[in-house]
Structures are given as structure tokens and as C-alpha cells.
């Protein structure tokens, strides 16, 4: 498809190779670019992007800044990616990509059919017909939660899935998310990361604060039934499968429990082996040089492994034990508040 892109388009879609080519004229040497005045402004703006990405959806302002010169907008996109790459935090990378992709999506909604087809082609899909190949479809809908996106709820024949016109925009967004996320973290030279260190510290602090806001002080009574069941079984000396141990450890790590405390919990188990458990806990939490930090399995995986036990009414409204925990904490807090008001 032949389409003429103007500089506004380049600023709106900084991931395009045309945009990258355009910016290379302004910032051929990254280190000296970042040390200059424009570079410093771009670093500040990139930090702002990450701050916005960390806000919850309704606080977020995703308005397009049309007044910003294209080269600044494109450089901001790139530097924000460099910043999260330096941080190495998987969740932070995910949040930035989600925020950036949401902005692109808002723009895509406004585009005409030709531009949409051009962008779709760039993310590797053909939207000329109402059907997409199963492989592209599956790779694109994994993050989407609504039932109607599940492959099982779709009309599928000869390897093609039927999609509607309105769904195509979401489809492009998800392909974009995958494409952009796949490239991260970038391999950034240490000299560049140290140049960004002041903003990186601020971003990291904000991220920690965000985690504390989301999960706060650990509250055992808010654990979902599955995790409670696993911990009770562990304490009583019952045999727990590897995936069960993994689920409990990853969950406790994700809600902010320190590795030593997790280790103590395992100490109650009769087959406790300190070295082995320490290895497993470090591995799951990404400590001890393992690098990868694991997230607790979602409800569907828990069900698959027969670990979803005694689900209660709250379980019906969540798809992840961590969401259960967040919601239950809120409920308990509200209940406490109400009880306090009644007493007064």
C-alpha cells in the first residue's frame, strides 16, 4: 500500500521505520543528543510518559500533544523505552507499552480506511477481508479479557477467524502491543543508563510507591481461597505439587512479601529443604541473579492444575488471584471503615 506520511503522522506513530529514519537526522549520536538541551527536555518528557503510564486508567490523560515538534515526540517515545529498559522492571515495561499503545489506538480510531490498512500491514496483518489467520488472531487476543475475543467463541474455519470491522482497530492495537513489547528491554549501553540515572531513580521510586498503593501492607485475610488452601496444606505437611508451590511463592512475592518471610512459611513443611527452597524462592522472585521475575498463575491456569479450590463469590468477578487480593483488601478496608462509623 502506498501512502504519503507527513511529519504529524510520524509523530503520531513513532514506532514506524519512517519515524525512526526521520529522527536519526536529529539524534545520530545518542549520548551527545541526550547531553544537549533538546535531549534533556526529551528525557524529562520521557520520564513524564512513564509517570502517566503508572497512573490508573481514569487518572490518565492520553490527549495527543499536537503542538510538540515531531522530532521531540519521536525521541520521547524512544527515550521512554530506553528508560524502562535501564530499569529492567518487567511490570514497568508492560505499563509503558500499554500506555503508548493506548495513545496510538486513540489516533488509529480517527484514521481513514487507507491509513488503517497501511498501519495493519505494518503490524503484519491483512485487513482487506473479514477474516484473519488463526495464528495472527491467537497472538493478538491473548491479553484481551472479554469473552467474545476467546477463540472458542468465534466462527473458525480452514484456519481463518471471522472478525468485524470495529474489531480490526483493537486487533491492530494488540498487534502493536506485541510488536513493541517484543523488542523490550533494549540492550542499552551502561553509559546511557547512567546518563539517565536521576530520572531513573525518580521513576523507580514512583513505581515502588505504586506497588505499595496497589498491594499495601500484607494482609493474610485477603488471600484468595486457592492461596489460603495451598498455605494451609503446606503447613499441615501435605504434599504440594511443584506448580502449587510455584503459585504460592509467586503470589506472595508479587504482593510484596520478603523472600525470608516466604522461606519461613515453607519451613513449616515437613519436607523442608532450606537450600532447595531458597533456590526456588530466589528463582521465582528473580533474585540471586536469575533475572526473570515470575507472576503468579491466573485463575485459568490454577483451574487447569486443580488448584482452584473453594472459590467464593468474589472469585467469580476476577480472573487472577492477585486481583482477588486487591479487591478483597479494598472490601475489608471498607467494611472496617463502615464498622468504625457505626460505632461512632
Amino acid at each position: 500500500m502506498r501512502i504519503v506520511l507527513d511529519t504529524k503522522d510520524l509523530a503520531k506513530y513513532p514506532f514506524l521505520k519512517e519515524s525512526q529514519h526521520f529522527i536519526s537526522d536529529f539524534a545520530s549520536d545518542l549520548e551527545s543528543f541526550l547531553s544537549g538541551n533538546t535531549g534533556r527536555m526529551v528525557i524529562k518528557r520521557a520520564g513524564d510518559c512513564i509517570r502517566k503510564a503508572l497512573q490508573v486508567h481514569d487518572e490518565d490523560d492520553t490527549k495527543t500533544e499536537s503542538e510538540i515538534p515531531p522530532h521531540i515526540a519521536i525521541a520521547t517515545y524512544a527515550v521512554a523505552r530506553i528508560l524502562v529498559s535501564c530499569s529492567g522492571e518487567r511490570a514497568l515495561i508492560d505499563r509503558l507499552v500499554t500506555w503508548q499503545t493506548r495513545q496510538f489506538y486513540e489516533n488509529i480510531l480517527e484514521e481513514d480506511r487507507d491509513m488503517k490498512a497501511f498501519l495493519a500491514e505494518r503490524v503484519g496483518i491483512d485487513i482487506t477481508g473479514p477474516q484473519v489467520p488463526v495464528r495472527d488472531y491467537v497472538e493478538s487476543v491473548c491479553r484481551l479479557r472479554e469473552d467474545h475475543w476467546r477463540l472458542v467463541n468465534r466462527s473458525v474455519i480452514h484456519g481463518l477467524v471471522t472478525v468485524t470491522d470495529e474489531e480490526i482497530d483493537v486487533f491492530i492495537r494488540e498487534r502493536l502491543w506485541n510488536g513493541i513489547r517484543e523488542q523490550l528491554p533494549l540492550r542499552v549501553p551502561a553509559s546511557i543508563c547512567s546518563l539517565l540515572a536521576p530520572v531513573l531513580v525518580q521513576v523507580h521510586d514512583l513505581y515502588q510507591k505504586k506497588i505499595m498503593q496497589e498491594f499495601g501492607v500484607i494482609e493474610e485475610s485477603a488471600y484468595p481461597p486457592c492461596i489460603q488452601g495451598l498455605l494451609i496444606a503446606l503447613a499441615s505437611g501435605a504434599h504440594i505439587t511443584h506448580i502449587g508451590r510455584f503459585a504460592a511463592t509467586a503470589f506472595l512475592h508479587n504482593i510484596g512479601m520478603k523472600n525470608d518471610t516466604i522461606l519461613e512459611l515453607y519451613g513449616r513443611a515437613p519436607d523442608f529443604n532450606v537450600e532447595k527452597t531458597l533456590y526456588q524462592v530466589d528463582h521465582i522472585s528473580g533474585a540471586g541473579g536469575f533475572g526473570t521475575e515470575y507472576t503468579a498463575p491466573g485463575c485459568s491456569a490454577m483451574k487447569t492444575h486443580s488448584l482452584c479450590i473453594n472459590p467464593d463469590s468474589l472469585c467469580k468477578s476476577v480472573i487472577h488471584p492477585l486481583s482477588y487480593y486487591k479487591q478483597k483488601k479494598k472490601l475489608l478496608k471498607n467494611r472496617e471503615k463502615n464498622a468504625g462509623t457505626e460505632k461512632e
Binding site: P133, D147, S155, V156, I157, G159, A301, T304, H305
Partner: protein, 384 residues
């Protein structure tokens, strides 16, 4: 298992492996191998020796010939360093897409009946994979597990990099998990195929059956589902004839926003103890989900022997599956006599013959004797 029986089985396994008929998996040097050996405590205690890598088919065969394992496996995954001791060090670079069909998950019955049933399921799965999901038949391999099932291997590189969530999407489709009646019905068009069509047909058959029963029966059936009370059941029962007629003509006209309809359809699809849930699962393929979502699974090596049956793990093309009879084609040993001491009386079909084995000592064809000994139903006679 008596030591003499174990030694005999191991000796016969050794004879088999001497012939060198193992099949090397593709990209052998990127696969991890694992083996369960005939240790002194086998089969009471089983240890898997894994993290083994081979650089060639010859090396693999020499290992198997020397060690004579009871069970042999290889990874569905491809690794940079398959012999490394931890997953981190192994460097996962992809995995085949695997479907596991095990008769144990579907029915109880004679071994022969279970093998017949699971073969039908394999044929249905292959149809779904090729006709609906469009998977190229050239990339599909079928393997008889040597036990009570089949493994379907999809080696198409398009799926190789997929992790858990993508594979979950496929296995949910295969099994019919996560059905949303609202999503299925409200988007139904005349050209709709796949699961929405299967769901429509299953729902129509179920509700038509309910309609044909008397009123009390309907309410009893509907209230057996989680979350459905008598009032809701009665209202739904009164709407059933209309729903049935719409299911036949235009399912998208069914008002899935109606609270009663939404609640009952939701209960039908989500109550795992309910009859409708079972019907939906039967309309799909009853595969073992965790095997498909696990990207680091070890699976039986074709050409190896399964020590719980003595049968060969046989790889087949889709075309060969039709005429494949595991009770003939996976049997390695033939007519030589073997004295056994049977723990009970059994009727068994093997090599197209029907055998009655009485409790106690008897002489049987070696193929049958080994099968009974491997399954723990008999011991080699005079082995005490």
C-alpha cells in the same frame, strides 16, 4: 513385581533395543531426554533421570541399548543447551504444539474398548485441527503412546515460539472451555461455523429434550444447576419453546440480555457437575489440557517401549491411523511360550486372538505374558 519378572522384562527390552529401531526426533541435538530405569525398586518407586542431551541419533541409540530404560522421553521443547541442569541455563527456544489424548480421562472399561474410544477421539481431533484450525497435515504427527492414548505433535514452526497463553487459547478451543453463550448466540450469522455452531446444536438438542418432558421434570433438571432457583427455572421453562425455535432459525434473535435467559445459560455452561457441561465437553475433544499448555514437557520417544504394557510407542501418519490396531501393531513379541503365574482370571484380546487366563500358573504366548507382567497382573512363573 518380583525381581525375576523385572529381569525377564528387562532382558526382552534389551533384545528389542539391540535391533536399533528408535526414531530420532527432529532437531535431536536441541532436545532434552529423560529416562526411567529398571531400578531395584521399580515399579514401586520411580525415578526420572533427565537433563540428558545427545548430539546424534547414534549416541541416543547407544545410550538406550546400554541402559535399557523402562520408559524413554524427550522434550517437546527445543533448547540451546538441552543437557543443562536448570531451565534458565537450558535456554528455551521453542516447543512443538502437543495434544494428549488419554482414555483414562474419558471412560472406564476394558482395555480394548478404551483403545477404540480414544482412537475415535484422535480422529475427531485431527479433523478439528486440519478443517477448522487449518493446521497443515504435513506438520502433524500421530503417536500411539504405548499405554491408553495418543499424542498429536504439531511441528509447524508458526506455533513454535508460543508460550502458555497462546497454547491455552488453542486447547480451550479444542476442548470447548470458556464458552460464553452470549458471545456465541448474539454474534451468530447464517455462515457461522466452528464452536458457535456446535454450541447451537448442543443447546438445541438439550433444550428440545427438556421441552419433550413434563413440567416438573424440567424444573427439577434446571434447579439442579448452581444458582438456579425454582422461580427462575419455571420462567425459563416457559421460554424454552421459543428459544428452541429461534435456535433453529436465527439464534442471534434470542434475548441474551434477559436476566432469566442469561442466568440459566450461564449456569448451564459453567456448572461443571451439570449435564449440559458434559454434553459440551463431549461435543469438543476431551484432551488433557496441561500437556498442551506446558512448554517444557517430556513426551514418550517413538520407537521406545512402554514398560507398563510392553507395547511399542508407535509414530503414524494421519493416513495410517485409520487402519492402526494397537493390540496388533504395537505388540513387539509374538508366539514364543512363556510360563506365567496370574494373580486373577482375565479375558484379554491381543494379536486378534481372545485369551482366557485362569488364576495361577499357565503357559501363554510371550506377547500376552509380557503384557500381563508389565501391567502387574502376573509374574513370570517359577521366579520366586
Amino acid at each position: 513385581m518380583m525381581p525375576a519378572t523385572r529381569s525377564f522384562i528387562m532382558r526382552r527390552f534389551s533384545d528389542y533395543y539391540e535391533k536399533g529401531i528408535l526414531e530420532a526426533p527432529s532437531s535431536l541435538d536441541q532436545r532434552e531426554f529423560g529416562f526411567i530405569h529398571f531400578s531395584d525398586s521399580y515399579p514401586d518407586e520411580i525415578f526420572m533421570k533427565r537433563h540428558i542431551g545427545f548430539i546424534s541419533a547414534d549416541e541416543m541409540e547407544i545410550y538406550v541399548r546400554n541402559m535399557v530404560p523402562a520408559h524413554a522421553y524427550y522434550s517437546t521443547a527445543y533448547y540451546e543447551n538441552p543437557a543443562a541442569p536448570t531451565m534458565q541455563q537450558k535456554g528455551w527456544s521453542g516447543a512443538d504444539l502437543i495434544f494428549d489424548l488419554d482414555a483414562d480421562h474419558i471412560m472406564r472399561g476394558s482395555y480394548e474398548a478404551m483403545l477404540d474410544r480414544i482412537k475415535q477421539e484422535a480422529v475427531r481431533l485431527l479433523d478439528l485441527l486440519t478443517d477448522e484450525l487449518g493446521i497443515d497435515t504435513k506438520t502433524i504427527g500421530v503417536v500411539f503412546s504405548g499405554g491408553r492414548g495418543y499424542h498429536i505433535h504439531v511441528t509447524d514452526t508458526a506455533f513454535r515460539k508460543w508460550t502458555g497463553p497462546e497454547r491455552r487459547e488453542i486447547i480451550d478451543y479444542v476442548c470447548g472451555i470458556g464458552i460464553s453463550p452470549k458471545a456465541m448466540l448474539s454474534r451468530f450469522r447464517p455462515e457461522t461455523v466452528g464452536w458457535p455452531l456446535r454450541f447451537r446444536d448442543t443447546l438445541y438438542a438439550y433444550l428440545s429434550d427438556l421441552c419433550s418432558r413434563d413440567g416438573t421434570d424440567n424444573i427439577t433438571e434446571l434447579t439442579s444447576y448452581d444458582g438456579i432457583g425454582e422461580v427462575r427455572a419455571a420462567r425459563f421453562a416457559s421460554l424454552m419453546p421459543d428459544i428452541c425455535s429461534r435456535l433453529q432459525t436465527n439464534p442471534d434473535s434470542i434475548n441474551t440480555e434477559d436476566q432469566t435467559i442469561a442466568a440459566v445459560l450461564h449456569a448451564l455452561c459453567s456448572d461443571q457437575k451439570g449435564r449440559f457441561y458434559t454434553l459440551c465437553r463431549e461435543a469438543g475433544i476431551q484432551a488433557d489440557e496441561p500437556v498442551t499448555t506446558d512448554i517444557k514437557r517430556l513426551i514418550r520417544l517413538p520407537g521406545s517401549l512402554h514398560a507398563k504394557s510392553g507395547f511399542r510407542v508407535v509414530s503414524l501418519s494421519i493416513r495410517e491411523l485409520h487402519d492402526f490396531n494397537p493390540l496388533v501393531d504395537a505388540v513387539v513379541w509374538k508366539d514364543r511360550d512363556l510360563g506365567i503365574e496370574s494373580k486373577a482370571s482375565y479375558d484379554i484380546t491381543l494379536l486378534e486372538n481372545r485369551y482366557h487366563i485362569s488364576k495361577g500358573v499357565s503357559t501363554v504366548p510371550e506377547a500376552l505374558g509380557l503384557f500381563l507382567c508389565c501391567r502387574g497382573m502376573a509374574e513370570v512363573a517359577g521366579g520366586r
